[in-house]
């Protein structure tokens, strides 16, 4: 079956922020990339990305986006730094044990990029706080471990009509896919219910979360700037035990609430014509 390839993000910005001479100097090497250039850099600067959480995956995603010159990061992660965070959560420090995770993440990101606008929430996403946390986001990157959080982000992104990049890891495996509302399967299409097998704590190396975190950040940069093609309708699976990858083609679930909503909306628009 031929899958639709979606190349660009539906960027909402009517105006793009110009680059300062300092930004020109910092981002020079990536602006040499064909198809990206100064316009791509301006799009990054004009975009706000929600990263939830900033643990093993989200630390890397946020760090790479901060390095790349994203304009604003919205971070959501509750709790204090624990010893078991330190094998993979690179925005946390040994000295910071017992202190706020999201505060540590904010401090580390601003050391790298002091121009970055950061909105930090010391709480995990839920269906109750999702609207508030997602309010200023143009794009969501889901790095959360619990399906309740992931479904809340999925539902929030669909309601706002903004893209969602889903990344996951387990042992030496990683997965990545990009969800575009009304165009691709949503998270509930892929997983209709909270998986009974899933456990909150699981085996993983920091190098695994780092690998998929970098790929998720690159997917976000591509989505924002219009560079390359995206993992839409596609689940990229990575097996670091054998260094092999697969691109699995996903289907929309006609029984999913997102597809029912599209059908209802289509009928309503048809009735209005």
């Amino acid at each position: 079956m031929q899958q639709e390839v979606i190349d660009t993000m539906p960027l909402k910005h009517e105006t793009l922020s110009a680059l300062t001479p300092e930004e020109q100097a910092i981002y020079e090497w990536q602006m040499w990339t064909p198809g990206f250039g100064e316009l791509g850099q301006q799009k990054l600067k004009s975009t706000s990305v929600l990263v939830s959480r900033v643990g093993g995956l989200g630390s890397i995603v946020a760090y790479q986006l901060a390095a790349a010159g994203i304009g604003k990061l919205v971070l959501a992660h509750g709790g204090q730094i624990k010893p078991s965070d330190l094998n993979r959560q690179i925005l946390m420090t040994y000295q910071g044990l017992g202190q706020s995770r999201v505060a540590s993440a904010k401090e580390r990101l601003l050391q790298l990029n002091p121009r970055l606008d950061i909105q930090a929430f010391d709480e995990n996403i839920s269906s109750e706080n999702c609207d508030k946390i997602m309010a200023e986001a143009d794009l969501v990157i889901d790095c959360a471990p619990l399906f309740a959080e992931r479904f809340a982000m999925n539902d929030g992104a669909l309601a706002k009509g903004i893209p969602l990049i889903e990344c996951a890891m387990y042992e030496l495996e990683a997965q990545l896919t990009t969800i575009i509302p009304e165009q691709t399967p949503c998270l509930r299409c892929i997983y209709p219910e909270t998986p009974p097998l899933w456990k909150r704590e699981f085996p993983v190396f920091g190098a695994v979360s780092g690998t998929v975190g970098c790929m998720a950040a690159m997917e976000a940069i591509k989505l924002i700037s219009g560079l390359g093609s995206l993992l839409t309708n596609t689940l990229l699976t990575i097996d670091l035990r054998t260094m092999s990858t697969r691109k699995l083609q996903l289907n929309k679930n006609t029984l999913c609430s997102c597809q029912q909503a599209i059908k209802t909306k289509g009928l309503a628009e048809h009735a209005c014509e």
């Binding site: 042992e171 699981f202 699976t237």
Partner: protein
């Protein structure tokens, strides 16, 4: 016919291997699923009501299929079972 079934995600760790080879009596998905469910890890594939769990994803080659689809395998086909994973 022989069918190679790849296991990804938590299923791989639970089963202890990344693939199993089935000798199918009939080259159909329903036969393959029945044979998988009879294995020691078979209960991991099932929902509480005894049906195949909707949390397990199935792929014929690289194309997603549903457990309820009427699929007949050809020589060289592969089936992949993928259980969900998450961030953290």
């Amino acid at each position: 016919m022989k069918l190679t079934v790849f296991l990804q995600g938590q299923l791989r760790l639970l089963v202890g291997k990344d693939q199993v080879v089935l000798s199918l009596t009939k080259p159909s998905l329903s036969t393959a699923l029945q044979m998988l469910c009879e294995r020691s890890f078979g209960h991991r594939l099932l929902a509480k009501d005894g049906s195949i769990s909707p949390s397990i994803l199935f792929f014929l080659g690289d194309q997603q299929i549903k457990a309820t689809d009427e699929v007949f395998f050809a020589e060289g086909d592969t089936l992949t079972l993928l259980s969900p994973i998450s961030g953290g």
